[in-house]
């Protein structure tokens, strides 16, 4: 952790950062949309006792700290990778093992705006990794066609915020193909990937979390990983799954999340929530970036309130693992669900409703949702909008004292 004054040049700060290497104690904010990392987007979290923090620096500190999981040993040799590298690895494994697999989207050929497809075109050829023009509806429609014809289609939508022109294709075509053809046809070979969630400076159209819109649609699966190891396993599961899947990748974690990731292909089962830490007093449910916030909240609750929290990563939003969540709530009696998307109609509402149906008599307090405000994702007000650890902590306090 480094203290620096605002007169330090960004380059010097970046140099220091790289010399120290990436470790989980540093929080990084900002992901560029271009090929090259913008050094200016990298900032270091300062120690709480530091007083020389300038207004600018305070504003740029991330709202979470990435917490890596222990190194997985059951999938073979591992390599240090960040989130976008683990995605590249998954795609690499897929293109190698499945000769029908194709990857397409805007700017994927040179490696993608988040570098998720770097090197794949050179390795596998331009007929397997290719660019599409700027037309999301076209991309998904085309992807459905590719999938129906039998090839494995991996479509990239450049930002989840741009997925809406394709909404009709996803909801009306992809999700209903098997159903309306009585299982004669299906587009299970389709996987749609999109960068998702807040990034510190994304504002209205580079920060959205649209999982709730799609959760309302039977026929598709929605998956959101929290880390590189999870991302690779879950993406490979989505690709293998015989249903159209939407895979949202938390863009703020593309560089910030670094873990030891297995080099070989492996899958993590869908529709299985993971209990990250056991507890007895409160169940915390989240997905994606918010998991790291929740882990911190769990620590804070333990230290300051003596409250033991059970943290669950939902991973698959649709169909979600009702059993794991309900079993946990039966044990603890309290549930807090948190996501960046606006609270009204957000996915927390679905979880909340189902849990109160199943576990009504076990609840000690009303189910709490700590989510984004019911506003469009704001520009400079972002730090106030997002459900940070203090808001979650506050909610836990209220639940405990109910």
């Amino acid at each position: 952790l480094i203290t620096h004054r605002c007169t330090t040049t960004v380059m010097a700060a970046a140099a220091r950062f790289f010399i120290r290497g990436v470790n989980s104690k540093l929080s990084i904010t900002g992901v560029g949309t271009g090929v090259h990392s913008s050094f200016g987007a990298t900032l270091l979290k300062l120690t709480p006792s530091c007083n020389s923090r300038s207004k600018t620096q305070r504003r740029h500190a991330a709202h979470f700290t990435f917490q890596p999981d222990p190194v997985p040993t059951q999938y073979g040799p591992t390599q240090k990778m960040n989130l976008f590298q683990s995605i590249t690895s998954a795609l690499d494994n897929t293109l190698a093992s499945d000769p029908t697999a194709v990857i397409f989207g805007e700017d994927v050929a040179f490696g993608g705006v988040f570098r998720c497809t770097v090197g794949l075109r050179d390795k596998y050829g331009k007929d397997r990794v290719f660019n599409t023009p700027l037309c999301e509806q076209g991309i998904v429609g085309f992807g459905i066609g590719v999938a129906v014809a039998g090839a494995t289609a991996i479509a990239e939508i450049q930002f989840a915020d741009y997925i809406f022109p394709a909404f009709d294709q996803i909801v009306n075509e992809a999700a209903k193909y098997r159903y309306r053809s009585g299982n004669l046809f299906d587009c299970g070979n389709l996987t749609i990937r999109a960068p998702w969630g807040c990034v510190g400076h994304g504002s209205l159209y580079h920060s959205q979390s649209p999982e709730a819109f799609f959760a309302h649609c039977p026929g598709i699966k929605i998956v959101i990983p929290r880390s590189p190891v999870q991302a690779k396993g879950l993406l490979l599961s989505c690709i293998a799954d015989k249903n159209p899947c939407i895979f949202f990748e938390p863009k703020i974690l593309y560089r910030a999340a670094v873990e030891q990731v297995p080099v070989e292909a492996y899958t993590i089962p869908l529709s299985q929530a993971e209990v990250l830490q056991e507890g007895s007093d409160v169940t915390l449910v989240a997905w994606g970036t918010q998991i790291h916030v929740m882990k911190e909240v769990a620590n804070m609750a333990q230290e300051k309130l003596g409250v033991s929290c059970e943290v669950i990563d939902l991973q698959t939003i649709l169909p979600w693992d009702i059993e794991t969540v309900c079993k946990s709530v039966v044990k603890t009696g309290r549930l807090l669900i948190s996501h960046e998307a606006p609270v009204t109609g957000g996915f927390a509402a679905e979880i909340s409703s189902t849990v109160q149906e199943e576990c009504f008599l076990n609840l000690e307090a009303p189910i709490s949702r700590v989510c984004g405000y019911d506003t469009p994702f704001p520009h400079i007000f972002e730090p106030f909008y997002i459900p940070d650890k203090w808001k979650c902590f506050d909610a836990i306090k209220k639940m405990i004292n109910y």
Binding site: H36, F110, L204, V343, I380, A395
Partner: protein, 390 residues
Amino acid sequence: SGKMLSNISNVLRACAQKNGAAVVMSARTYADFTTQATFEIKKCDLFKLDEAPATQVVMTRDEGLQYYRTMQTMRRMELKADQLYKQKIIRGFCHLYDGQEACAVGIEAAINLTDHLITAYRAHGYTYTRGGTFNMQIVLLRGGIAKGKGGSMHMYCKNFYGGNGIVGAQVPLGAGVALACKYQENNQLCVCLYGDGAANQGQIFETYNMAALWKLPVIFICENNRYGMGTSVERAAASTDYYKRGEFIPGLRVDGMDVLCVREATRFAADHCRSGKGPILMELQTYRYHGHSMSDPGVSYRTREEIQEVRSKSDPISMLKDRMLSNNMASVEELKEIDVEVRKEIEDAAQFATTDPEPPLEELCNHIFSNNPPVEVRGTNPWSKLKSVS
């Protein structure tokens, strides 16, 4: 007679102040310069048109100075925005317009402020020509206009509908605005801009159909700067003749680096619309020096030589400057003085913007809906409610 001269110069300076363009008095008198000259400009490529914009055009000294000042202001503003972004004073996304100044200035020169304009996210130039002062702009880039909720991509002012982030989404909107103009019979039109990347979006074609069917007074303008983010037009489009894409809509292809070409073509297009003939499509061939946005260095998909070549051979500001100097419409010193003034104005604006207070937190929830009295907006959790005023 020296005193009289300075009196005259003071009076002329005072009454020549319009649209932010001051007539600069240099050591030489006003009478030394040519008041207007005729220029030969490039012919436009035509599609389904029998007539064409004029190729012999007149530009007066005043017009020239005004175009020069406006373009130079836009150029300096973009460079300043670049600087402020790198200092993290401006955040979010920032898409710079330098290189394309002739488009904004030429278009505005041919329409009225009562006409309407809508564009995509590379909008700083248009915000300025449409009347947003650059003071406001730099403030807004920090979060001033739109009270900090939008940032660089979402700037608006009277008859300027932004500033739109989603590619292609602004085109049907533009047609709608044009319909309102036609309906209200106010002889106004709507200039609806989009880029070469957006030209492949489905909603553009839906809009072409509606505009042509209902004969809407809309000028569709495709600002073809050769790259949709990092993809060159050849790799994105089956047909790079964007001015022909309207199929049943007449089209023009214009040299977008020459402010006079753009002005003449827009004049022609505006006449076409206002005479009730329906929509028309213009392709402006232009170029951006910066990358797609501040996160894009702009050299991974094109060579530095290419950028340099355009800068040296086709820069809109240089072209105008050469024209004025070689026709004795202004002196080198006069233009230099304008440069210095512009630089100072931008510096002051940046200074103002950096010290301007941030919008208050209450603004976060305002203007979601139109509501009277204020409604309550759910905050983080059900028992936290915020007020939304609109």
